[in-house]
């Protein structure tokens, strides 16, 4: 079978523009052959090269004294957590593959991000996931949702990594464009950091893991175009199938091998598989690499060089070994019954040379291929729809007549309802470190000796550490105001950490948007990156890496701009770990922050869950987040937590104060079918002159509900005052109902009913 001729049509089919093709000719000094064309097309896809987004990514804060490996340097960033320990973490999307095959698409997304983490030499210890779908009333959406959740569960559970937190949103804009962002965090000692560099001329290059098949051919390129019936059909031909069992073995073997010092460089084969791993490792080391495809284990007969180079078969790694240490690779991979093959060597040519049975099938300067993809400054234009959004006022929206009914509507809305239908399918406790499981604001895990790459047997004992994390993104806010909305995304993640007692260490983001060639979409991207960067700076949570997923649109339109942010923080002492539910009868309930932002003409109702669900309006300027005030709030909250008085802390987010209070009353789950319900008597009559719906359901930023023992209430108010944060006593805990009294009306709900609506909403929608 001979390779097709390079025609303009073929070039276009590979997603390359005529200018890009010229650039390729310039780099090679000749026409590329078919295999080379394929190699350039995947490496220069948005997914691998960030050609449309790189200028924006440069604006993120990426430095802090604690950062050991920064954004863009390697497969994941690494942050110092003290005592010689460090964490590696990153988020990545698998949106398009999940749209084509939800179960395997999501599963391989989890597998891919886990590989990114152990490639750094770290032991993956937990993962989190951020998911978005259309509305559950559609059977097709239910199929995607249940498939994605089952796929994540399948991979994570079998691999043995706890999935400890996440978020799920349901909105029409994701219908046909589901978002699956997976995050993984790993632990290592400073000296255990591994590098993805092909160092040492003459060193042998090993391929380890299962044989290469035709799966996921050119998946990176597929992810870099709109999702159409044709593009999906192409990809269906060879869906990637995940094998978590294999990955667990590959990881254990790699960590065991890394402990021997035999490894000069290591990189996973993720997007763009063998292509990306060879040219990137060579580019990082400033070396060349030569491989022979005939030596690459192959699953399917008669695979062409093009197919082998572009395959995205899962669970494969490329390892560069110090010459003379080959036997160790063989010993360890044989112990784990894993396939391996020596496929090439590191050279001094600076070129990526690919041979197949003696014939040279690709010869490309590695650095130019990996690092010199074209960069585009796309045109940006403020979207038309924002005019109407800004013009919208509350004038035509009548205040609520049925606050209790509204609360029930909101708690039963799948976006706000408990996500237990999801996280009970995930093993969230394996590894014996889940101190705060899903169901509170941020998850908290304990790092202990066996969190390290090697068991720790015989090694010096480590101190236990507590790491908190959460992923957030209210994409409706971002849609309604990309800059301000993006700030609140980061603020919410940071607030969730603060509620758990943690101080941010860093963050990782996943930019999910529509087609960047549309100036309005590029504007959304640009403006929201501006907001993210500013907020990450404010909270001292530099970005250590992330992922860009553009082209999330189908013929029905683009998704809402969705920059998900996963933030990771540290908790010094176990006593500081705080959960969101009320603890004891008779405790005082306080609000830290202003009950309502009176400077906001929308009173916090713009873009709110309340307007969406009760009034079917997805509009209005979303609530602003004043980063300075938000930061003061977090500082104050943490210092109160450190002083030992805070029994529970829960931030106000979707659904506002009433939903937050209800969640404080109903969200503690003791065991299967055994919630612990603790009521509250709330009096808001001190807050006059505010519409009842804004008071109860407005989403004014920078607010946290805490509970303290009654005798401490006055002291806490005084302390808050000193710390410069508004605070008020709202009421006290007790009873079996949530009762709220305000000037404009009252609300009274039985907790059993609220709990049932909230806990079972998704299960009912899926039945």
């Amino acid at each position: 079978m001979s390779d097709p001729a390079i025609t303009p049509a073929l070039i276009k089919q590979h997603g390359l523009t005529p200018e890009e093709y010229e650039r390729i000719q310039g780099i090679l000094g000749r026409e590329p052959n078919y295999t080379e064309l394929g190699i350039f097309s995947v490496m220069w896809s948005e997914h691998c090269s960030y050609k449309n987004s790189r200028p924006l990514l440069k604006t993120f804060p990426t430095k802090s004294p604690k950062i050991l490996v920064g954004a863009g340097e390697e497969n994941a960033g690494i942050i110092d957590i003290g005592d010689g320990l460090a964490i590696a973490f990153k988020i990545e999307s698998h949106n398009h593959p999940s749209a084509v095959e939800p179960f395997q698409g999501a599963a391989t997304g989890v597998g891919g991000i886990i590989r990114d983490i152990f490639t750094m030499g770290a032991r993956p210890v937990c993962s989190i996931d951020s998911l978005r779908f259309g509305e559950l009333t559609s059977p097709e959406v239910r199929r995607l949702f249940s498939g994605v959740v089952a796929g994540i569960a399948h991979y994570g559970n079998c691999f043995g990594i706890p999935t400890v937190a996440g978020e799920v949103y349901f909105d029409k804009s994701y219908e046909g464009n589901p978002l699956v962002n997976a995050f993984c965090l790993g632990v290592l000692r400073h000296e255990q950091i591994a590098r993805g560099a092909a160092k040492g001329i003459g060193n042998p290059v090993f391929y380890v893991g299962p044989a290469t098949g035709r799966d996921g051919l050119a998946g990176a390129a597929f992810a870099s175009q709109d999702l159409t019936e044709e593009s999906a059909e192409q990809q269906r031909g060879a869906v990637q199938v995940g094998d978590p069992f294999m990955e667990k073995l590959v990881m254990e073997a790699c960590l065991e091998l890394l402990a021997t010092d035999a490894v000069a460089g290591i990189q996973d084969m993720g997007a763009a598989g063998l292509t990306c791993s060879t040219c990137e490792t060579a580019a990082r080391a400033g070396t060349g690499i030569e491989i022979d495809l005939a030596k690459v284990p192959q699953r399917a007969p008669n695979m062409t060089p093009y197919e082998i180079m572009l395959s995205e078969s899962q669970e494969r790694m490329l390892i560069i070994v110090h010459k003379g240490r080959e036997a160790e690779v063989k010993r360890i991979f044989d112990k784990w019954d894993l396939p391996w093959a020596e496929v090439g060597t590191v050279t001094d040519t600076g070129r990526m040379m690919v041979k197949n049975r003696g014939e040279l099938v690709a010869d490309i300067p590695a650095k130019k291929l990996a690092d010199e993809a074209p960069i585009y400054q796309r045109e940006a234009r403020e979207p038309e729809y924002l005019k109407a959004v800004r013009a919208f006022t509350l004038a035509g929206v009548a205040d609520t007549q049925d606050a209790a009914g509204n609360l029930k509507t909101l708690l039963g809305w799948p976006t706000i309802a408990s996500k237990n239908w999801v996280y009970r399918q995930y093993d969230h406790m394996v590894r014996d470190g889940s101190v705060v499981c899903p169901g509170s604001d941020a998850a908290v895990i304990r790092i202990k000796a066996d969190s390290l790459p090697q068991d720790g047997e015989g090694k010096s004992a480590t101190v236990d550490k507590y790491i908190a994390m959460k992923v957030d993104c209210n994409a409706v806010y971002v849609y309604l105001d990309p800059y301000e909305g993006a700030k609140t995304v980061v603020a919410e993640a940071a607030r969730n950490l603060a509620c758990s007692g943690a101080t941010p260490l860093g963050s990782t983001d996943n930019l999910n948007y529509g087609n960047p060639h549309n100036p309005e979409i590029f504007w959304q991207l640009r403006e929201s990156v501006r907001g993210l960067a500013e907020a990450c700076r404010a909270f001292n949570a530099p970005v250590t890496g992330g992922n860009v997923s553009l082209y999330n649109q189908n013929p029905n339109g683009p998704i809402d701009p969705t920059p998900t942010v996963a933030m990771v923080g540290l908790i010094d002492k176990l006593e500081h770990v705080t959960t969101q539910w009320f603890k004891d009868e008779g405790d005082a309930i306080l609000l830290l922050g202003d009950v309502v932002d009176r400077n906001d003409p929308m009173l916090g109702l713009g873009g709110s869950a309340y307007l969406q669900r009760v009034h079917a309006l997805k509009t209005g300027t979303p609530p602003r987040c004043d980063l300075d005030r938000e930061k003061e709030l977090h500082l104050a909250l943490r210092s109160l937590i450190y002083s030992g008085v805070v029994k529970s802390a829960h931030d106000c987010s979707d659904g506002g104060l009433a939903v937050a209070l209800a969640e404080c009353c109903i969200s503690q789950q003791i065991a299967r079918e055994t919630p612990r319900l603790l009521g509250a008597e709330i009096d808001l009559s001190a807050f006059t002159g505010v519409r009842l719906d804004a008071l109860l359901f407005g989403e004014t930023q920078s607010r946290v509900v805490i509970s303290v023992s009654a005798v401490q209430a006055a002291k806490v108010l005084a302390q808050a005052k000193i710390l410069g944060v508004p605070a008020a006593v709202l009421g006290k805990t007790g009873g079996t109902a949530l009762n709220i009294k305000a000037n404009e009306g009252t609300l009274s709900c039985d907790l059993r009913e609220l709990h049932d609506l909230w806990w079972n909403a998704i299960a009912r929608a899926m039945a």
Binding site: A150, N157, P244, D427, R446, D450, T674
Partner: protein, 237 residues
């Protein structure tokens, strides 16, 4: 005491078991690779949870043919105590060391959550230290934990007091809603006729420290340690 914690390809609760035995309970515990043919100086064997061989074909079906399982068979035959947790329970059933089988949860979904478990008898090396009437709060995490055996076997298990743990509600009632997977008789764990081999689906190693929300699982390990120390189980060496 010396514990051997078996390690199959894709065991993933092996380190958790070692952690609890070693760091929480202060005993010696080591991982034993599935290709080993001897248990060394082990006083007791833990077959840990996880997804040995990816749970492909059937849970536990492949692991039970590992070389180490022959040694476990011999150890158990001599009266040595063996405890299987989750996947370990499945492996022991597949190996014929325990009767019955574990099939797909009734919900067809994987379930991870805390459940209440009641010891049905104190008469075993795995339950002797559980106070009468105490309801343990322990997590489960499995997709195939529905215990099944034919009516005859169930009758025998009951007659011989081999049912060790049952899913219950907070009050200790064996209700249907308390049963997370559809197990017959709410069975969460059983032992063999000679009472030295036991298996259970819940994870006591995940409930052995207060900071993880419950320390009730320790009672199971402490029962075993008590039995070993008082030599009420054979020291098979």
């Amino acid at each position: 005491m010396n514990f051997a914690v078996l390690q199959f390809p894709a065991s993933n609760c092996d380190q958790d078991a070692v952690h609890v035995l070693r760091n929480v309970l202060g005993h010696s515990a080591r991982l034993l690779w599935h290709k080993e043919t001897s248990l060394g100086n082990a006083d007791a064997v833990i077959v840990p949870g996880g997804f040995s061989y990816g749970d492909y074909l059937r849970t536990g079906a492949i692991a039970r043919f590992s070389p180490v399982m022959q040694a476990v068979q011999a150890f158990a035959a001599k009266g040595g105590p063996v405890l299987g947790i989750c996947n370990g329970f499945q492996i022991l059933c597949e190996a014929g060391l325990l009767p019955g089988a574990l099939i797909r949860n009734r919900s067809l979904q994987f379930r991870c959550e805390h459940v209440f478990v009641k010891a049905a008898t104190a008469n075993s090396p795995f339950t002797s230290q559980i106070p009468d009437g105490k309801v343990l709060r322990i997590p489960i995490a499995h997709g195939e934990g529905c215990y099944f055996a034919d009516a005859e076997t169930i009758a025998r298990l009951k007659a011989q007091n081999q049912i060790l743990w049952q899913y219950a509600d907070a009050q200790g009632e064996l209700t249907d809603v308390a049963n997370p997977n559809g197990s017959v008789e709410n069975i969460a764990g059983i032992c063999n006729e000679s009472r030295n081999v036991a298996g259970l689906m819940p994870h006591p190693e995940r409930a052995s420290e207060g900071l993880l929300g419950s320390a009730d699982g320790r009672l199971i390990f402490e029962s075993l340690i008590h039995a070993l120390e008082s030599k009420s189980v054979a020291k098979a060496a």
